[in-house]
Amino acid sequence: MLWKKMIRDILSNKGSYVACLVIVIIGLIVFTAFSIVSDSLNLSKDTFYREQNFAQGFVELVSMPEHNVERLSRVEGIKEISGRVVREVRVNAPEREESIYLRLVSLDLSDSSRVNDVRLLEGEELKDRELNAWVDNQFFHANELEMGQEIEVVAGGRAREITITGMGMSPEFTYPLRTQTELFPNPEQFGIAFLPLDTMAALFPDVQGRVNDLVFTLEPDADFDRVKDRLEPELEQYGLKTIYSRDDQVSHLMLTEEITMLETLSTSFPLLFLSIAGVILYIMLKRMVEQQRGQIGILKALGYSDKEIVFHYLSYALTVGAVGGLLGGFLGILSATPLTELMLEFFNVPEVYEGFSLYYLMSGLLLSLTVFLISGYHGCKQALRLKPAEAMRPPAPVLGTKNILEKIGFFSEMLTIQGKMAVRNLTRNKGRSAFMFLGIMLSCAVVALTWSFNDLVDKMIFYQYEEVEVYDARVTLSGPDARDPVERELEGHTEVARVEPIAEVPVTLSHHWQEEDVSLIGITRESSLYNILDSEGRRVIPSDKGLILSERLADKLNVSVGSTLELESPFLRDEDSSQRVSVYEIIPQYLGMNAYMELSGLEELLGQGKLATSFLVNVNNNENKEGGISLLRDRYRESELVAGVDGREERIGQAAELMETFGVALYIYVLVGVIIGFSIIYSSSFIIVSERSRELASMRVLGMTSREVFSVITFEQWFLSFFAMLAALPLAQLMQQGLASELSTDMYILPGELSSESLFAAAVITSLSIWIAQRFALKKVRDLSLVEVLKFEE
């Protein structure tokens, strides 16, 4: 019988229960889906790493004889080591506007236990001494390649045709980025090709019998830093550039960060949602028990035990918990597969699906039942305390009081009678007001944060490409000797308006025991194509005496303007020596982490002659810049001196396009904020309407319209929401700062301030969701049957 009562009670108040249920379901979808996805990714990653023997250490050097690699495997702590040749080449594809690059990585076919082995997905084994290659699957698919197709690359100054005989994937390139300033892989324009070691030697005569890259795995208990220390002296003579561990490997770093983020989200997000649902249910049950005092009294008088009565009220909570838990769990499992697929669009790891997970379904159900058991029990425990006789008496009357707000004289003067009721209602149920306040605050903060995040990423890209790097194209040189001839040529072209040399030099900067590997950028004093800007957006003229550092770099090195740094570089004339150089200025930088210097000062510092790694170019003819850039590209398609021509517009376009896919995730967060705000106002309005139906009906009888009556409730809610939204500002600011320091990496730095548009947007969006939620409750006031409500005694 009591089951029937429960079902009817729930049905007669379905709005609030549905709101509660929706929140539980969303929470549990995220829980199961994200848990499964992060498990799948972890599993794929681990299997992939194990099966392909993924390296734990990476070495870049100028050149060393291949037969010396074998000797290095005897270094204590190293298990296996492979020597490779890694070179980047340009693909000759005249039909394509943009430049396409391939990173060629050699595979030693004679080595049976290769480190960073490639998993062949399709195609056949590589053959020695033939111009054949495997390409990575993303590049293969993005460019719609076919097996046996030949691609033409410019290698060693000659156009060569390489036959694609296979397609595979490597743990080293799960998130392949060509340069440091890129945020996303771009498989259409950048891919990896794996070739036999001999073939590499055939393509590049200068690497005959030599390697320029080492990858190694460690003995189980070896410590990377020790191994690094042992390796360094061995490699010094071969022009060692850098040794880093797996933790600093870009693809690995991005992949593990993503998995960690998913794991964090899969717990924190559902907990937030379940707590909100729990509080709503707690409030609803508490109110219902208060309202049903009489019924409880009768049940007790009839001889129902306390246990039975509490169980009856708990059954409301458990029903919601069970329905929400199961529905959310199933939907979560359903969405796990598409979500994993989405993640695999970004990360190139083999798919290992964990389709149906009973474990997460059950733990999700258990989680939601536990939350509701707790909130339900607290909501209805007062039913226990009621004595039957007491229960049938009406509750102690509401003791109306004036509250603190009204003691402020002028404020009280301003209020209408409805306003007074609303203000007093705020303190009538303090717990509920506090919950509403916190909910709106959170909702508003989440929206502000998300919006701001979106804004900031946009701004970051805009800043980098519209303010800092304002050139139309970058012409990358293939070697140091190319500088003079290319510069002369470029200046001779009619489409070229301005040419500036730029040098990017890998350096190690150290200050006491802090040490950072960065790229030092040398630009001319009068450069107008690459602007170094200070925090106020003013141009900083590079100095030939000292370095300009990005804020993050300065922080990491723990230096300020005037400090002296130690500089080492493979570009130094005497490679084993180091130079001392002072810090001239510190500037904000959002994409990448660099140091800057005036070009001739840099040349002098390194003891080099004229230095440049690329030229920045502005083309004539503002209306048709694209035409100018593609003309330039055509000129250098086959050039030995030029490694590539990059148009700026394409890079902005790509960044913007990829931002859009990320934007989807951000909209989901906005939606989350809206749902929180909406459901809180929605359920609290419903509760208030049913709790105060008698008061509301009396006002209707007096001749007030539904709208006038409802304004008492809305005034109360807006009043609270206004202050909640004000309080959301510092909260969002705090969250932004936390998030910025959490998510910033050496590749991109997120600013810690909220954008002002986002605050406005958050206020508007939150208000809108409050307003819409109120429309539903208004309908409930309209439908209030005056005759029925007033018939019974309170």
């Binding site: 009357p397 109306g400 009081t401 009678i417 009888v701 007096l702 001749g703 007030m704 007033l790 005694e793």
Partner: protein
């Protein structure tokens, strides 16, 4: 006889409860005049409250016509009904239905705010004998005092008629008489119409007319040539 205020013609009220149809009113013809005091009597379930609610614009009949002057209340929408309640009708219930978090003064003010030609609040409070309880909340007042605030709240709008559903139902004799006296005074001093539903036949003695309802129909209507003053009524 004075002018007609309300005219009901063949009013029917039907409740559909699944298979069963309940007729609360089965065709009521009834006229209410300006300035009279009417008492409605009848057994429980005879349709008294239903009729009063329809007259007061709280509810609408399923069939039949209801005129306020020449306005057909049976054919207007929710907005017009609200306006009618706001400007012409004052309701008083057995349970006082005051706003628990407004003081006596503020409760009355609630209706003054929406009225076109309201009466003065402090004067009304004096009249109902609660001048010194102005700033008290309902929980600080007795039942009788709360009912007097409710009456003052209904009167404050200065309505054409006052409709009372068992106004003394929860009160003891002396308190009940106080309330009835207020209603009688209002009727006489301001020349307003008052309808009182009661189970107490003694109260009928103070009415100008007594309407007997039975089984959803008007059974009979009696006229009192000499209504008793409320003080003389005993039960």
């Amino acid at each position: 006889m004075s002018t007609e205020l309300i005219a009901a013609k063949n009013l029917k009220k039907r409740y559909q409860m699944g298979e069963v149809t309940v007729y609360a009113l089965k065709g009521v013809d009834f006229t209410l005049y300006d300035g009279e005091l009417v008492v409605m009597l009848g057994p429980s379930g005879s349709g008294k409250s239903t009729l009063l609610n329809i007259i007061g614009g709280m509810d609408q009949a399923t069939e039949g016509e209801l005129y306020f002057g020449d306005k057909g209340l049976h054919e207007v929408g929710d907005r017009e009904l609200t306006l009618y309640r706001r400007n012409e009708v004052g309701f008083i219930f057995q349970f006082y239905n005051l706003m628990p978090n407004l003081t006596a003064f503020e409760n009355i003010n609630l209706s003054v705010q929406i009225a076109q030609d309201p009466l003065e609040i402090d004067g009304l409070l004096e009249q109902v004998g609660l001048g010194d309880r102005r700033d008290h909340f309902p929980s600080q007042l007795s039942g009788g005092e709360q009912q007097r605030v409710a009456i003052a709240r209904a009167l404050a709008k200065n309505p054409r008629m006052l409709l009372c559903d068992e106004p003394t139902g929860a009160l003891d004799l002396p308190t009940g008489i106080q309330v009835l006296k207020l209603l009688r005074d209002f009727c006489e001093n301001y020349h307003k119409t008052v309808v009182i539903i009661t189970h107490n036949t003694a109260i009928a003695e103070m009415a100008d007319r007594v309407v007997y309802l039975k089984d959803g129909m008007v059974d009979r209507i009696e006229k009192n040539a000499h209504p008793l003053p409320p003080e003389k009524v005993t039960w």
